[in-house]
């Protein structure tokens, strides 16, 4: 089995969920790497979108900002935020990547504050475009380190919607259909139970046992009868990622 770090693994796994002929809204870093890898490995017709207006650029390198000039380098269109967000709102964007300080069992995300809202321990950036993507896009994904401090029973603040309180809650709140699709960590891949919309273990990474995942999760995970084993990154995926996607190791050098 090839040697790889956890960042490389998460990026390779995420890229496998990005189908050809679909649209994905990405940020900087790992999500952008996953989308670029998908394009080069198996989804040549994957359309990459950036919230500030870049549409399907020929990315010459990793952007450092979702609004820098790389995000619309030889793009088919350099639009604006209104164009991108309304494109999501009317149902034309299939995937978006999100991130945050906390995530709960229904995939709700906190990227605003830790602690009390009016006396926060830490102030984070807030929604940015995350709440918009989480509201509008068909399938949202997260790549994150798996730990009890991130996978919490209750978010201190729900910045972006997952399935809110569970089945039917998005519809009741007026949100369009959509929501969390896959959560990819350094330990496992998780999806969401069709009925309850609660987070469910789908596959464990090589060498990881279920108890370890449970121990690092601050709520009860749904565990199906059969929990699969994650297929590790292939040599080909790793080659493309290291040689073509991130040769400067700006992202995969982090883990």
């Amino acid at each position: 089995m090839a040697d790889f770090n956890t960042m490389e693994m998460m990026i390779c796994l995420a890229s496998r969920y990005l189908e050809d002929g679909k649209t994905v809204a990405v940020g900087t870093g790992a999500p952008c790497a996953a989308a670029m890898l998908a394009q080069k490995a198996h989804s040549p017709n994957l359309v990459i979108l950036f919230e500030a207006g870049g549409i399907s650029p020929l990315l010459p390198q990793m952007p450092i900002s979702v609004g820098d000039s790389r995000t619309f380098f030889r793009a088919v269109m350099a639009a604006g935020m209104n164009e991108m967000m309304t494109t999501c709102a009317r149902g034309l964007v299939d995937y978006a990547f999100l991130g945050g300080a906390q995530i709960d069992k229904f995939g709700n995300i906190n990227s605003t504050i830790v602690g009390d809202y009016y006396k926060p321990k830490v102030r984070f950036p807030g929604s940015g475009g995350a709440n918009d993507f989480a509201s509008f896009c068909w399938r949202t994904m997260i790549m994150t380190v798996h730990s009890k401090s991130r996978f919490v029973g209750k978010c201190d603040f729900i910045t972006s919607p997952g399935f809110l309180t569970g089945a039917g809650a998005r519809e009741a709140a007026g949100l369009p259909e959509g929501g969390p699709y896959k959560i990819i960590t350094d330990l496992a891949v998780m999806g969401f139970d069709e009925k309850t919309r609660a987070m469910m273990v789908e596959s464990l990474h090589p060498g990881v046992e279920l108890d370890k995942v449970k121990a690092e999760t601050g709520f009860d995970l749904v565990v199906p009868k059969q929990v699969g084993r994650t297929q590790p990154p292939t040599d080909e995926e790793l080659r493309i990622l290291r040689e073509d996607v991130d040769p400067l190791k700006l992202v995969i050098g982090r883990a």
Binding site: N45, F72, R74, V76, M77, A79, A89
Partner: protein, 327 residues
């Protein structure tokens, strides 16, 4: 949301954004070759009964070739988005193609006067009409493009235009002021004529956009007719100039002089003689039938229509007019 007042006329299209999302979810985003002929696009995307929007401004940057093909295909019972429509409207009335009409500007050709045949058709009562304004219809398309069920405007209020529309008057939750809510409008299909497009549908038009940015984004299906096809590399060389990205587009038809007899900015002016001929001959229905047969029904392709209107010689004159070349 408390409704204080509302128009009496029916909506022809469903303003539910989730139904529109369900459609757009299935629309392909693949960047593939979408070139077709005008015959193929009418066959494939413009069936009887569909709701149609036309880009440009009546007799400026209009997709004439596709409209002619709609007539030749004898399309009927369509809905039409009567927004800044002039010669395009005149054509669709000549074919009696639609029986449902959202009307902001209809039957007229601006300074050229009213179309006798369009007046007869609308005054006949065969067509269900719902009244709007140019901005209200642009706002309805914008709401659709935004994926929301309605937009807020401050026009139409207090008039019979609102009374005979499908708008509703509501109270602003922040200021308590009365405002008009206009429902989102997702046409089944729109046809827009542009200066340049690549085979995937990435499109560029020059000069005023009228309401085409909104129309292109609101419509479920979008047909582009282009003065010329360019390479994808040409589009990517100047992404700031792109008006319409490929994933909104279903078909691309290359048609030089495609806006004739209308004006195409920077390329050719409108043929006022031919447009005047229309207005004149429409006065006599029998004469008009012959006229239509000669210029549309008996014509096999758009180039043949251009020939019957004077061909390259006429087109050269219109090019000189557009570019203000001294006689």
């Amino acid at each position: 949301m408390k409704v204080l007042d509302q128009g009496l006329n029916p909506l022809f299209m469903d303003p539910d954004p989730d139904k529109a999302r369900d459609f757009f979810r299935t629309k392909t985003r693949a960047m593939i070759d979408k070139r077709m002929t005008e015959k193929e696009v009418v066959e494939k995307f413009i069936p009887d009964g569909c709701y149609l929007g036309i880009g440009g401004f009546g007799a400026n940057r209009i997709p004439t070739a596709v409209i002619h093909e709609i007539l030749r295909a004898r399309r009927k019972n369509m809905g039409f988005l009567g927004h800044t429509s002039t010669h395009d409207f005149e054509l669709l009335c000549a074919g009696k193609c639609f029986n449902r009409l959202d009307a902001a500007y209809i039957v007229g050709l601006e300074a050229r006067g009213l179309s006798p045949n369009a007046r007869r058709y609308i005054e006949s009562g065969e067509v269900k009409v719902c009244e709007w304004t140019n901005y209200a219809l642009a706002a309805r398309m914008r709401a659709a493009a935004e994926g929301v069920p309605f937009a807020i405007v401050r026009c139409m209020l207090g008039t019979d235009t609102l009374k005979m529309s499908g708008a509703k008057v509501v109270e602003c939750p922040f200021t308590g002021k009365k405002v008009a809510a206009v429902p989102a409008l997702w046409p089944d299909v729109a046809v827009i004529h542009v200066h340049e497009a690549d085979m995937y549908g990435n499109s560029v038009f020059k000069g005023i956009s009228v309401a085409d940015m909104e129309l292109a984004r609101a419509s479920k299906h979008l047909i582009i007719t282009a003065e010329k096809l360019v390479t994808n590399a040409t589009i990517r060389a100047n992404p700031t100039a792109t008006s319409i990205p490929f994933y909104l587009v279903d078909a691309v038809v290359e048609i030089p002089y495609g806006s004739y007899p209308g004006n195409m900015p920077y390329l050719y002016f409108s043929d006022e003689e031919h447009l005047a001929q229309w207005m004149k001959v429409e006065k006599d229905p029998t004469e008009f039938e012959k006229f239509l047969d000669h210029y549309i029904y008996s014509v096999s392709c758009f180039e043949e229509y251009l020939e019957r209107c004077g061909g390259l010689k006429k087109l050269k004159q219109l090019q000189q007019l557009e570019n203000l070349v001294e006689k």
